[in-house]
């Protein structure tokens, strides 16, 4: 009675998104939190020119801070009532679980980043148009895919018992550093900050795509080992 991975992934993703729609944790807690972070950056940096110049980096930093909360939330849903154990016992294909949770996390991250970019345009006075917008959207899609894959993967390891959650930032931050570096540079190109052209941003997006591919594949192969007891 084993199901195909894609059907399982779809069921898991739908389930996660439906739970989010009902509980509204992202909209009610994470979005306000990251909005606040963006405002705090302005307090701390206190210089309109500087803010405009570094806006790209601030958006991605705020994303990373919220990533931890989102990852812990997506696995809290599973461990609250032992659902992850039940999924393991039922012999549900872990690759399907990985893809499903990664897709749900991807969607939630996209919603978060959309808000953050709007905040950046409003608060830090950057703007983006034409080819810059194409670059930005591609960058966001590739970077978010990478973040969703690594978040799900390491989140699976640190889920649940015995003070493992505190391990998540330590494990995750070094891994997402390439995303921070490349996404920020591509975003700055999209905003045409500091005299950059849009064309200079594309190599960074290529690295983001490689990152997403590597960890998508790596995640599919490793997830079952990391959620195993």
């Amino acid at each position: 009675m084993s199901m195909s991975t894609s059907r399982i992934a779809r069921a898991v993703a739908a389930k996660d998104l439906r739970i989010e729609l009902r509980s509204r944790v992202v909209t009610n807690q994470v979005l306000p939190f990251s909005g606040l972070v963006m405002i705090m950056f302005a307090f701390a940096l206190d210089n309109d020119d500087v803010l405009q110049r570094v806006a790209g980096g601030l958006v991605w930093l705020a994303t990373l801070f919220s990533l931890f909360i989102l990852v812990q939330r997506t696995f809290a849903v599973e461990t609250n009532d032992g659902a992850l154990d039940s999924l393991r016992v039922a012999g549900v294909n872990p690759q399907g679980i990985f893809m499903g949770k990664a897709v749900a996390l991807f969607v939630q991250l996209l919603v978060l980043e959309a808000m953050l970019f709007i905040a950046a345009i409003v608060l830090y006075r950057v703007n983006v148009n034409g080819s810059g917008l194409v670059l930005l959207v591609t960058c966001v899609l590739c970077a978010t895919a990478g973040l969703a894959f690594v978040g799900t993967l390491y989140g699976g390891l640190t889920a649940g018992a015995r003070g493992r959650e505190t391990l998540l930032p330590l494990l995750l931050l070094p891994v997402v550093a390439p995303v921070l570096i490349c996404a920020t540079r591509a975003t700055e190109s999209a905003f045409r900050s500091g005299g950059l052209t849009v064309g200079e941003g594309w190599p960074w997006v290529a690295v983001l795509a490689v990152f997403a591919a590597v960890f998508g594949l790596g995640g599919l192969l490793s997830f079952s080992s990391l959620i195993e007891e």
Binding site: L170, L171, A177, C182, W204, S222, E228
Partner: protein
């Protein structure tokens, strides 16, 4: 799975003693040569002597990373999941973290003396810093508890993910720093003219530190073996205790 009942004489064997001796000799030479016999650099003066520590420890740090990666892969792939590979992976990571810290410290001091800054965003230094933090995470995962096999499974996967991640980090940082076109060299060891004795001392240092690494890893992995055996003994004792509970 039997316990070691003879009195503890240490984890050395004739082989390890031999290369322990080699390490002492090589490092002794590097110490003396590095501090006294080799000339100072035309530009940097005596500060160049930090190179004799910094370059070999950087090399060993990366070697440790590679050894952990290969040992983890061997554990995963082998049908028998031989625990020796897991122990070597763990020992190499621990020793590696030590050498990474030494690399960062010596690099930082060197930068301070020659360039006036404790840190430069040099790709190699930055990647070493990432390697350091990543391996702290790896060691934390090893400490999550459970049986030795559970530990081996989790940490081997984490190690292989690190093997995927570190080149990506390095490449991103290289790309990043290449944007900031600096006319001058990015790291202190770029412009040194190597005199024959300096080169020899440097290479001998690389050799010496590598042998030291091997010595530390083989001892550490034996200690891990003993810790694992001790865990099994404790388990045996606990099982016997429980069996007695029922008979009482």
């Amino acid at each position: 799975m039997s316990s070691e009942t003879q009195s503890f004489k240490g984890v050395g064997t004739p082989t390890t003693r031999m290369y322990g001796l080699m390490a002492v000799i090589a490092l002794g030479w590097v110490f003396l040569g590095g501090l006294f016999f080799t000339p100072e650099d035309a530009v940097q003066g005596d500060a160049v002597r930090i190179m004799y520590v910094h370059v070999p420890t950087a090399w060993v740090a990366y070697l440790a990373f590679i050894v952990t990666g290969i040992a983890s892969a061997c554990w995963l792939i082998g049908k028998k999941h031989s625990m020796g590979f897991d122990r070597v992976a763990g020992a190499s990571a621990e020793v590696g973290v030590l050498f990474m810290a030494m690399t960062l410290l010596s690099g930082s001091l060197w930068g301070r003396i020659t360039w006036g800054t404790f840190w430069v965003w040099d790709p190699r230094l930055t990647t070493t810093a990432f390697l350091f933090v990543t391996y702290l995470g790896y060691l934390a995962v090893r400490g999550l508890g459970g049986t030795a096999e559970q530990r081996a499974r989790r940490s081997s996967v984490i190690a292989l993910l690190a093997v995927l991640e570190i080149p990506l980090v390095h490449f991103s940082v290289v790309l990043w720093r290449s944007l900031h076109q600096r006319a001058t060299v990015l790291s202190p060891d770029g412009d040194i003219k190597m005199d024959g004795l300096m080169l020899f001392t440097l290479l001998f240092g690389v050799f010496g530190f590598t042998v030291l690494f091997a010595w530390l890893v083989s001892h550490r992995q034996r200690i891990i073996a003993m810790q694992d055996a001790q865990q099994i003994n404790a388990l045996d004792a606990a099982v016997t205790e429980r069996l007695k509970e029922v008979q009482a």
